[in-house]
């Protein structure tokens, strides 16, 4: 299966709280009216110019092993290496929200419109995550519809550059997935363009395979430990 999803911007529009959180405004804080109005404006602007899209493709365990190992730069042990070997199904994915967003952010900064430029950047980042979430949900639904998902299964995605999976694995991932048909290119430094793009693997399998502790050596450098919430989300479903 390889599928390109056209996604409605309405489905991946971030909330004002999410935009402000991306700028370091803590939850529960009540910013002044001017900031809220500008955040609303940035979200409207985002909706006008964004074009979220995703591509998803099944991949065999043997082929994903090649993607995972990439150029051999991964950390010695990673949660993903333990998880994917126990998976029932795997798919590669890539999502983007369009180069227009980056162009508009640059334009706003050149015009000294720093606040709305930063808010648009935050909105785009959050929206890209929401788009990746839609890709994950699509894959889960697809597996259910094709009777490939066991009742006690969960799905979770991982991206190169995180959790010990080296960013250079992007190269192999792109060779298999070819997301250039949704407008994503990979540069020499393994940077994706448009910048607001996400790629990785979606893993489906028994929920228990996703349980791991954030005690790997590289976890010490992680600022978010978002794995905790992600694991909880899988187990709670």
């Amino acid at each position: 299966m390889r599928k390109i999803l056209s996604i409605s911007t309405d489905d991946v529009t971030p909330s004002i709280d999410a935009v402000l959180k991306g700028l370091g405004v803590p939850e529960g804080n009540t910013p002044d009216k001017r900031i809220i109005q500008l955040a609303q404006k940035s979200i409207s602007l985002y909706k006008d110019i964004a074009a979220p899209t995703a591509v998803i493709m099944d991949i065999s365990m043997i082929d994903f092993e090649k993607v995972y190992h990439g150029d051999g730069d991964n950390e010695i042990e990673t949660p993903l290496e333990n998880i994917y070997k126990l998976a029932d199904n795997l798919s590669l994915f890539a999502v983007t929200v369009s180069e227009n967003v980056n162009k508009e952010i640059s334009r706003l900064f050149k015009q000294d419109e720093f606040a709305i430029g930063s808010m648009l950047d935050s909105a785009a980042s959050e929206s890209a995550e929401m788009t990746a979430q839609i890709a994950e949900s699509f894959y889960s639904d697809y597996l259910k519809e094709t009777d490939r998902q066991n009742p006690d299964s969960g799905v979770m995605r991982f991206s190169p550059g995180y959790c010990g999976w080296h960013i250079t694995a992007q190269k192999k991932l792109f060779e298999f997935l070819n997301p250039d048909d949704i407008g994503i290119e990979l540069g020499e430094s393994f940077l994706m363009r448009p910048l607001k793009s996400i790629s990785g693997v979606i893993i489906a399998g028994p929920k228990k395979i996703f349980e791991f502790e954030d005690v790997f050596p590289f976890c010490g450098d992680c600022e978010t430990h978002s794995c905790r919430n992600r694991i909880k989300a899988v187990l709670d479903k």
Binding site: P26, I35, A39, I105, F114, A115, D121, L191, D221
Partner: protein, 212 residues
């Protein structure tokens, strides 16, 4: 209220129109442009920086203030050039070669300008040679580099090595920033400081160049 105090307060509130009007009024009243800058605009941004560090305000508030700062500085700049008034320092900044992320670098540049530095922004995807050439040509006091990819961090080390080869390493300071970086990495490559955000960059760089 003293006009410069009023200017500082309008900047703190992010009222760029009022900041521009008050700057023009101060100019029309023949106040020294450097005094308007230091005691009106930079003083206001310093208070904004302190409030940000104390978590009393957040980035959007800082950016509103920065826009007000720029509105005032746009009016002062021609006068300062005409009178040959120097800035507190000159810094060349850029996102290193292979990397296109520039929001963080842009925010640092904004804060540094707000603190009174002259900022030469080379943009993104900047080759190491370009940092050195520009720093030499402009007689910069500082080179500031940003990277958000681990694969592009080695470019920073290359810039430090080039600075040594060109004999300018001892003549300027080199600072680095970006999510994958650390104090340890900065030390490892021979940079003078790692800066974790724009406000921190202003503090560290002012300290490095010996400005209070």
């Amino acid at each position: 209220m003293d006009i410069l105090q009023e200017l500082s307060e309008s900047l703190q509130k992010g009222d760029f129109k009022k900041a521009a009007d008050l700057t023009q009024k101060a100019i029309d009243e023949q106040l020294d442009p450097k005094v308007i800058l230091d005691d009106g605009l930079i003083a206001g941004m310093a208070i904004v920086g302190d409030k940000f560090k104390a978590h009393e305000i957040f980035l959007p508030d800082v950016l509103f203030a920065a826009k007000a700062m720029y509105a005032g500085m746009d009016l002062l700049k021609p006068l300062m050039i005409k009178e040959g008034i120097p800035t507190i320092g000159k810094i060349v900044i850029g996102t290193v070669y292979g990397d296109l992320h520039d929001i963080g670098k842009n925010l640092v540049g904004i804060m540094l300008k707000g603190a009174g530095f002259e900022v030469i922004d080379l943009g993104n995807n900047v080759p190491p040679e370009k940092f050195i050439e520009t720093a030499e040509k402009e007689k910069a006091d500082v080179i500031g580099m940003s990277a958000l990819l681990t694969t592009t961090m080695p470019v920073m080390k290359k810039v430090v090595e080039l600075a040594k080869e060109q004999g300018i390493y001892e003549k300027l300071k080199i600072v680095v920033g970006g999510a994958p970086l650390s104090v340890e990495y900065a030390e490892e490559i021979g940079a003078d400081a790692y800066c974790f955000d724009g406000i921190n960059a202003v503090e560290r760089i002012k300290h490095l160049v010996g400005v209070n």
